[in-house]
């Protein structure tokens, strides 16, 4: 019996810990093209900002592989999987055979179709090496353009601002974080970004990246030019299915998995950003590219690879994002839709915003800005599909908690854990 995991991030770690809940003996091989000990990718913005060292980016202790009887093969790319022979072929020609295989290759950056993206000083912002490359050019007083005012784009903005870089962020939408923010939320963030002298250009896009070999600026669709020393691309990510394209593995946007993280090929499991697993709120398969989901999918896959029968069917999007002065958390549904009632509470004085998405008798999503305390209670109302009809009017209270829940539910929750 041998386990092979392709990928070395959160889903892979979840899988190792899942396997070891059941099987403490049989060896595990981890294969990754990145040369690093398992690290947390979202920490690259903190690394770039100088808030964490590389040593503090490690997602598990230095003894992780040892303690768990894992043989890491790092800095070597898996080139091909032979599903019939049950082996993974590495770029250096080695063949690693598996009894159970987990594909956890994560996501990869979407390259926007802009003329000149291949120029020097145009960076992605996904991996540690991206942050290390940006670090070299992001000197105090330099000028940066960030393309995409998404979650990762804004984390890049934050890090660059903290490094003393003059940043301009550009997005085609009429607001920042368009997938999660509405007008109100966006204007709160814009006001804060203004304070930090980060420029935000909305409703426009980059026509062309200027410069010969290296980027020296961008030309916008509306004819304006923004000079810069370097560019960060944050146009989003997609499932990294490169390794298995054109094989018999069933792929849509991501690799299709059931609620046990199994694919259409026996003994092949998939977890994390590359998976298209069950989304509990949308009630269909979808990518759920967030750490908590990657961990749980990985843990579930690992346990099942080791012979358990675990189901994970509670995946949905949730994010917490401190952005300079703002604390932002959101979970579940984040745009209005059919059958969904939206409730908002904006407190200008306190600079707080709460938004709830309700479908029938259930909370299905929320967004909180600044007053994020105890947000997990809302997440749990979503997760458990609690009937909120008797206390819906209390949801927006600043002191919302178990005390406003019906007694039977409250008593149950108080005695849990």
């Amino acid at each position: 019996m041998s386990y092979v995991i392709i990928g070395n991030s959160v889903a892979a770690v979840g899988a190792v810990e899942g396997i070891r809940k059941i099987d403490k003996v049989n060896p595990i091989v981890i294969i990754s093209d990145e040369p690093y000990h398992t690290y947390s990718r979202p920490l690259i913005s903190y690394y770039l900002a100088g808030k964490v060292t590389q040593d503090n980016m490690y997602y598990r202790g230095k003894d992780f592989y040892n303690t768990n009887n894992v043989e890491p093969i790092l800095g070597v790319k898996a080139q091909h999987i032979d599903f019939d022979k049950k082996e993974v072929v590495l770029e250096d020609g080695r063949k690693i055979s598996y009894t159970k295989l987990l594909i956890a290759t994560g996501s990869k950056p979407l390259t926007p179709p802009i003329e000149g993206v291949e120029k020097q000083n145009v960076f992605n912002f996904i991996k540690l090496d991206d942050a290390k490359a940006i670090e070299k050019v992001a000197t105090r007083g330099s000028k940066a353009v960030v393309i995409g005012a998404s979650f990762s784009g804004l984390k890049a903005v934050e890090a660059l601002v903290q490094r003393g870089v003059n940043v301009t962020v550009i997005d085609i939408m009429d607001r920042i974080m368009p997938r999660v923010f509405d007008e109100t939320a966006s204007s709160m963030a814009l006001k804060m970004l203004e304070k930090y002298e980060a420029k935000v250009l909305l409703k426009t896009s980059v026509e062309k990246i200027l410069g010969h070999q290296a980027a020296i600026g961008v030309l916008l669709k509306d004819g304006r030019e923004v000079p810069c020393d370097f560019i960060v691309l944050a146009a989003g990510v997609r499932c990294n299915t490169d390794l298995v394209k054109g094989t018999k593995l069933k792929i849509n946007r991501g690799i299709i998995v059931d609620t046990m993280m199994r694919t259409n090929i026996p003994d092949v499991y998939v977890a994390g950003d590359v998976a298209e697993g069950y989304n509990f709120i949308e009630e269909r398969n979808a990518e759920i590219p967030i750490i908590p989901n990657a961990y749980k999918q990985g843990e579930t896959a690992g346990q099942n690879m080791a012979g358990a029968q675990k189901i994970f069917d509670k995946g949905f999007i949730m994010n917490s994002m401190p952005l300079l002065d703002l604390s932002i958390v959101s979970a579940g549904v984040s745009t209005p839709g059919e059958g969904i009632t939206v409730k908002t509470i904006y407190n200008q004085e306190k600079n707080t915003y709460k938004k709830f998405y309700i479908r029938g008798n259930n909370l299905v999503g929320y967004l909180l800005i600044n007053d994020i305390d105890r947000a997990g209670i809302y997440t749990d109302l979503i997760r458990r599909k609690i009937d909120i009809s008797s206390f819906e009017h209390q949801l927006g209270r600043d002191d919302f908690g178990f005390i406003y829940l019906p007694k039977a539910l409250r008593s149950q929750l108080i005695l849990e854990g």
Binding site: G14, E17, R20, K21, K24, S40, P42, L43, Y46, K51, V52, N56, M57, Y58, Y59, R60, T67, N68, I291, P292, Y295, K296, E299, M318, N319, S320, M321, P322, S327, V329, A331, I372, D373, R374, A375, G376, I377, T379, D380, R383, D399, G401, F402, I403, Y404, R410, S411, L413, I414, L415, E416, G417
Partner: protein, 157 residues
């Protein structure tokens, strides 16, 4: 190695029927985690920056009760943590946040079903939660000092 099959040997629970909302649990929790450990007077008279209480008291008169980390068997916060700072100790069963590695991203707050993790801005941004008074080596201060026995320790082994 195996971090999740082990149950915390003890958990703290509240009895809402006998809690009188005096918040002494908060006071003693603060003192227990201050540098003047357990010394109420020094903690409150001498310290301008006091630790946050790690118990959350909910109150809607006449109802009240205190809540703190359940040190869950399947901890949502640990699985959600983006740095690996939040871990369940396989030996003690306690869920402990490594303040050194915590970056204050608040993903644990987003994930915790009980709402018992706080944002602590006292020094560096860090998630603050009940540590079962691990360092003091004695019974948790909130339980020990509750005048009405509204907090109790349930042994689960």
């Amino acid at each position: 190695m195996d971090k999740s099959n082990i149950t915390a040997p003890k958990k703290i629970y509240a009895k809402e029927d006998v809690c009188i909302g005096c918040r002494l649990c908060e006071i003693h929790c603060i003192a227990a985690h201050s540098k003047y450990r357990h010394d109420l007077i020094k903690t409150f008279k001498k310290l301008s920056k006091r630790p946050l209480p790690r118990i959350v008291v909910e109150e809607d008169v006449p109802l009240s009760f205190g809540l703190q980390c359940r040190h869950c068997d399947e901890p949502e916060c640990v699985k959600a943590c983006i740095t690996g700072a939040m871990q369940k100790d396989p030996k003690t069963g306690l869920v402990i946040n490594d303040a050194e590695r915590c970056i204050g991203c608040w993903t644990c707050i987003l994930a915790c079903p009980y709402g018992v993790i706080r944002r602590d801005y006292t020094n560096k941004k860090v998630a603050s939660k009940c540590d079962f008074c691990l360092e003091s080596g004695s019974e948790p201060a909130c339980v020990k000092n509750c005048p009405n026995e509204a907090l109790y320790i349930k042994s689960l082994v």
